[in-house]
Symmetry: C2
Subunit: 297 residues, 2 copies
């Protein structure tokens, strides 16, 4: 069945590929128009116009992810146009690279805003409708750095991913009885792209101290080590296909977490233990039912 | 040897008890004067004036934890007065309770500021000196909710603790070659105090929906379950004694993490797997030496 879906972070490679896949599967996909500058929009729409495929249904909508009222009014428009909203895909992401000490508090606050608060704004805009429907799906695209070992100089980023992963899990339990499902999709953070295409610290003086001091060769060793270990980034296509598969699954069968690629940073191993602990704790405090969402109408 | 120590969050029970213990052990302890209103200061200082104990050496210093320049100038004063700074204790903490959806983005940003950015400001003020000395110690007092299963309605808080824990671990590796050690102290988040003495969501309308809807009994069931499971909060005295013990340990012998109490939310079990994964990853990328700090002068 065709679903109404809103996606954040549509301008990054995972976001673009995900929008394309969801359109090809016949869904109605909404993205922020601010992210849809010419080449990006064309890249997404071209894929939908293949003969034999369902026609593209990518709809841009004006909203500013940094404003709660703007996000809320965009979601109201989507609901007015479709009488429903089925799926929210949290994919907005900023990546930075550098020693933790070299990021100003303002930079960390901005990173937290992009990687966590955009999701909070969209959740607060969308969830009243999803709860009213008694059915809905939140898909969170996070990163193995949320639970895996963070390699040096990716700590600022890993820290916000850990916050997002934790928040997603809390939402999962709190929304289960409202009929809202959760899937957290976890690509590996260890590909070289995380280093090359990323923001840099504002405090360049401090960054020089790390580059000249006893840590001078850390970045080079880490990069070489990671290149041996994880020569490729997670393929955006794999993430996109998983999103599309999860969207198409029947209610109640969607997995809480999906990991990708080799478990080099141990995220999948850590999550396996964490998931058992969560199940056990919820059982012991008498809230085992929150582990599985139920339809309420 | 007497050490020069700065402590944040001195006004909360763990902070007060920690300051007292560190003073009794003969250290010079600095706290923000904004936190030292009459009763709190007396509560800390009284303990130092026992006969036979070293005299109290609690020094208040004017700084605003929300301003990087204010924190920096406070640290400059401490260094001017003592010619050194040995230990930073990150203990500032705000706890909130309520469904994740009921917290405004502004509330989450404020929570992140208290629970994460205060530590970032203090680190940026203190670390140039600690790195220059080639020796220093960061103690992070976090919470088992950082890695353990978060019970319903503690998610907003758990999310910032996860961010702090992740950041602390990244700093640990990045500072090892600068002679700066890290100990992360993890009290259980499951005592009843976390629920009773905590901030509430700003969006009370949304909170009512959770209190009236299918989640109406979740808080009551969770509280009763936790009361059976974890009838007491972590004793601040235990945390304070651990801080004092860690401060007094010789360089190189301090543990990276210390957990307290029963592992009801699985934080210790999750951390055990995470620590093994971190060791293994650092070994494989050729940076195993970052797992243990070394003195550089």
């Amino acid at each position: 069945m065709s679903k109404v879906i809103i996606v954040t972070g549509a301008a990054n490679s995972i976001g673009r590929t995900t929008c394309r896949q969801l359109m090809q599967a016949g869904h109605t996909v909404y993205v922020s128009s601010r992210e849809m500058s010419g080449p990006i929009a064309r890249g997404i729409e071209e894929a939908g116009s293949n003969p034999g495929q369902p026609g593209p249904d990518l709809r841009t909508i004006e909203f500013d992810v940094s404003s709660e009222s703007s996000v809320t009014s965009a979601v109201e428009t989507i609901i007015a146009e479709n009488s429903r909203l089925d799926v929210v895909v949290h994919n907005a992401r900023q990546v930075v690279y550098g020693p933790a000490e070299t990021f100003t508090p303002e930079q960390l606050a901005e990173l937290y805003d992009t990687n966590v608060l955009i999701a909070q704004r969209l959740n607060r805009a969308a969830l009243p409708q999803l709860r009213k429907q008694g059915q809905g799906l939140l898909i969170w695209i996070t990163s193995s750095s949320a639970r895996g070992s963070s390699v040096p100089f990716l700590g600022a980023c890993a820290s916000t991913e850990a916050a997002l992963d934790s928040l997603a899990l809390s939402y999962a339990g709190e929304l289960a009885r409202w009929g809202v499902e959760t899937t957290i999709i976890v690509p590996s953070a260890l590909g070289p792209g995380h280093y090359v295409r990323s923001g840099r610290p504002q405090d360049t003086v401090r960054a020089e101290e790390y580059a000249d001091g006893p840590t001078a060769d850390v970045s080079e060793i880490a990069l070489a080590g990671l290149a041996r270990l994880s020569p490729k980034d997670t393929c955006p296509q794999d993430v996109a296909s998983t999103v599309a598969n999860v969207v198409n699954m029947p209610f109640g069968q969607r997995p809480l977490k999906v990991h990708f690629g080799p478990d080099d940073d141990g995220a999948a191993a850590v999550d396996a233990v964490a998931d058992r602990a969560r199940t056990e704790l919820f059982r012991r405090i008498g809230l085992e039912d929150l582990l599985k969402p139920v339809l309420i109408r």
